[in-house]
């Protein structure tokens, strides 16, 4: 017996009903318990009642999951605390690099990016993204490709650094005016994200690493881009998006760019890999709860 006395009469049997239902009697005591139940219909009835009720609850009621909004709120509060007294983005990057799962090679790549960032701190972050965007014009494809280069150079620095989507999601909450997509991408590790403005238009930037490569997600308000208010898309890209929901092309620097729309968000993924592979990463992402 684990924690009960052997049942020898109806009163003691009654005390053992609950541990019996919860499978907490030893083999020997379970045998004594069953023997008593076999001989005593009244006690057997009590046992069966409790057993069936416990089974009913377990079968019908399942533990609820905390809503994403609550989790995001908790995380936002802790993040805010950390922002108020916490590390700078460069420090956060350095902290990230100290994590054991960052391989030495990846650490070297990220260290390089962090060092470049530190050396280029005179550049206005995160408005540096806007500068990068301005140089590349208002075309979404060119701007996203240009921003990808800025990520590699350390000019775009995540304001939130975490490999946990809920943390990054919490950071974006209420900052953009459109849902920000943070999928769990296969074989990729989330690095972090940031928000900035391009001529008054909010943009979200999310960075992943895949082996030694970075995958950059650029996100904007779909409606605004489609209207061409501030940012615009080529006619070909618009047609593809309307027709298939996707548009794929190669950026001037040779990186693959994949565009797609989902709900109110226009997304552009950029990575130095084959466009088909990049699409596969996105398509195979664990999308539920990614917004």
């Amino acid at each position: 017996m684990h924690d009960e006395s052997p049942p020898v009469n109806c009163r003691e049997f009654s005390h053992c009903i609950t541990p019996a239902v919860d499978d907490r009697l030893s083999g020997k005591d379970q045998a004594l318990f069953q023997e008593h139940a076999r001989l005593c219909p009244s006690c057997r009835h009590d046992y069966e009642e409790e057993r069936s009720l416990a089974a009913l609850i377990r079968a019908r009621l399942h533990p609820a999951r905390v809503p994403d909004s609550v989790l995001a709120s908790i995380l936002a509060c802790t993040l805010e605390s950390d922002v108020h007294r916490g590390p700078s983005p460069a420090r956060a990057f350095a902290d990230f690099l100290r994590r054991p799962r960052a391989t030495p090679v990846v650490a070297f790549v990220l260290s390089f990016a962090a060092i470049v960032y530190i050396l280029s701190r005179h550049a206005p972050p995160p408005d540096g993204v806007e500068s990068a965007g301005s140089l590349s014009g208002s075309d979404v494809v060119r701007q996203s490709a240009s921003n990808y280069e800025a990520v590699l150079k350390g000019e775009i620095v995540p304001q939130v650094v975490s490999d946990r989507p809920e943390y990054v999601r919490a950071y974006f909450k209420g900052k953009t005016g459109f849902p920000v997509f943070i999928p769990a991408m296969k074989e990729c590790t989330l690095v972090g994200g940031t928000v900035n403005e391009y001529h008054g238009m909010r943009l979200a930037h999310v960075v992943y690493k895949h082996g030694l490569q970075f995958i950059y997600l650029y996100q904007a308000c779909r409606e605004s881009v489609m209207k061409g208010d501030t940012l615009h898309l080529s006619r070909e890209a618009k047609n593809d998006l309307d027709r298939t929901g996707w548009h794929r092309c190669i950026a001037p620097g040779g990186a693959a760019v994949v565009l797609w729309v989902s709900g109110r968000t226009l997304c552009a993924a950029v990575a130095p890999m084959d466009g088909g592979h990049l699409m596969a990463h996105i398509a195979e992402a664990d999308v539920p709860g990614a917004w």
């Binding site: 219909p41 009642e49 409790e50 416990a54 999951r65 700078s88 956060a92």
Partner: protein, 189 residues
């Protein structure tokens, strides 16, 4: 200072955040109100983060969080807690007047009767239990925690957990039978 903040947040993330579902589920079942559950869990975690330095690393984090949640719940529902429901064991026993040789067949009938109840009715029946019984039913039967864990959470002996669970289940069965009668799934006895 910055490093301390970062370490603090990281250890909080690692230790406390994995238990959000457990706490939310408990808060939801206790309050029977999603909005209240949201507030309770957020309040619990904010307090936990604020007092994180007072948490002794390596001790039972779930019990620590649970105590904060329980105190928040009590504060929120202080009025009700001042006058807790009293349940006499005799009242519980009186719910079960049908016992005897035909019990096995009756159980089959009850299985069928309860099987037709809605999940919401089962939820409501649990919500109607007095706090002390509701807590152990939620933690043992829905959260599948061990008696030892529940005893730690509730700061009571193991035997108390077992007896409250036994009595809570009996009460619950009586209330479910009432629901079944109201819906015509069971006849008046």
């Amino acid at each position: 200072m910055k490093t301390q903040a970062s370490e603090r947040q990281r250890s909080f993330e690692k230790e406390a955040l994995p238990h959000t579902d457990l706490l939310y589920n408990y808060a939801l079942r206790m309050s029977n109100n999603p909005s209240d559950a949201d507030d309770l869990v957020q309040e619990t975690y904010l307090k936990a983060y604020r007092f994180w330095d007072s948490y002794e690393q390596g001790t039972n984090i779930r019990a620590w969080l649970f105590r904060i949640l329980k105190n928040s719940y009590i504060n929120r529902y202080r009025k009700e807690v001042r006058e807790p429901d009293k349940v006499e064991y005799d009242d519980v026993k009186s719910l079960y007047s049908t016992r005897g040789e035909g019990a096995a067949d009756q159980n089959d009938l009850q299985e069928s009767m309860f099987g037709n109840l809605l999940d919401d009715e089962i939820t409501d029946a649990i919500a109607s239990l007095p706090d002390e019984f509701r807590t152990v039913v939620i933690l043992c039967d829905i959260e599948a925690l061990t008696y030892e864990e529940v005893a730690t959470f509730m700061e009571c002996p193991l035997g108390t957990v077992r007896s409250r669970l036994h009595r809570g289940r009996k009460l619950l069965r009586g209330r479910l039978r009432e629901y079944a009668r109201q819906r015509g799934l069971a006849q008046e006895q």
